[in-house]
């Protein structure tokens, strides 16, 4: 899926997954699409960004600020695995 998105973006064809999150549940064999909107309060790409460089990542590999903020805003839990 990611590979197909890459080819589409490189060629400028079709509708890329910009602003859409596609989730895949292999056990249920179901795909779901969640519309994503830009968050005006986003610390990076919002209207008043607080992240303007990579300094919050430190120099060693990125120790982000860790908070216990709720992560279910889009109803899809983040996944780290690759």
């Amino acid at each position: 899926m990611q590979a197909t998105e890459v080819v589409k973006l490189l060629l400028g064809i079709g509708e890329p997954l910009v602003g859409r999150l596609l989730t895949y549940d292999a056990l249920g064999m179901r795909f779901r699409e969640v519309k994503l909107r830009r968050d005006p309060k986003c610390p990076l790409c919002g209207t008043a960004p607080t992240i303007k460089d990579l300094s919050i990542h430190g120099n060693g590999g990125g120790a982000c600020e860790i908070t216990s903020e709720h992560h279910a805003a889009v109803g899809v839990a983040p996944k780290a695995g690759g």
Binding site: A3, L21, C42, V74, P78, K79, G82
Partner: protein, 306 residues
Amino acid sequence: MKTLKEMLAEARQVVPEEGPAELQRRLASGEKLVVIDVRDPDEYRDGHLEAATNISRGFLEFRVGTAVTDPSTPIVLYCQTGLRSMLAAKALKELGYATVINLQGGYQKWVQSGLPVVREVPMTADQIQRYSRHFLLPQVGDKGQKKLLRSKVLLIGAGGLGSPIALYLAAAGVGTLGLMDGDVVDLTNLQRQVLHTTADIGKPKVESGTRTLKALNPEVNVIPLPMRITAANVMDVIRDYDLIVDGSDNFETRYLVNDACFLAGKTNVHGSIFQFEGMATVFAPNEGPCYRCLYPTPPPPGLVPS
């Protein structure tokens, strides 16, 4: 009898002209536009605008319909200096195309303005065979394939996600693939990380990955980057690539790649998995949300297993 000068003057009455900077701005904005290079094929091969389709002046009226399906789509024509295309543009106006613009000064002025051009490198017989199934797809074709061959994609992570993506992109003929991963192959990787083989255990993943990709498609330029991505190296690494693919396996990297791609204006094709679930999306700076719009900060350690 009319002189050439008179004919050009007549054409200028009905055909507006725009300079290279104006056309570049239109192209960069993603405006729907058809650019036609009306010079002869050998002139086109020597260098042309990336967006241009070649229909030489002599065939223009016969073939314009294949390049322009909707007559209301704006068309920009150019030739070497802007004279042939001026007369060609008048002919298209007479055929009923609503907006036909002539590139003022033609290809020559475009080049003098320092704007990018591409040279047509003819495909080898092997390439024509290898990519023949792409040529059958109207959305890809010969032009699309050449675009893929010129493209540079950076894969962050040569693991579970990076492996199949790298294989597909190499097979499809993406010209340059940067493969970045600081890990070595472990026996536990092999049940899913299909770039690597049993004989590769203990070797850097970028080394086995490069060998597998080269075996699949020897003409792909694979750049092995045997290192972890860090705040110190990320900007330098992503700079040279058209597109970044995040196939990493931890949140630190995901946020770092997201932030760096946004700051550098690079599109990030994001994917992540956990057990039987996966997700994918594309973060295109200023066109859509970024990873932080979804998840403003990383989850606390231990809450989400990686």
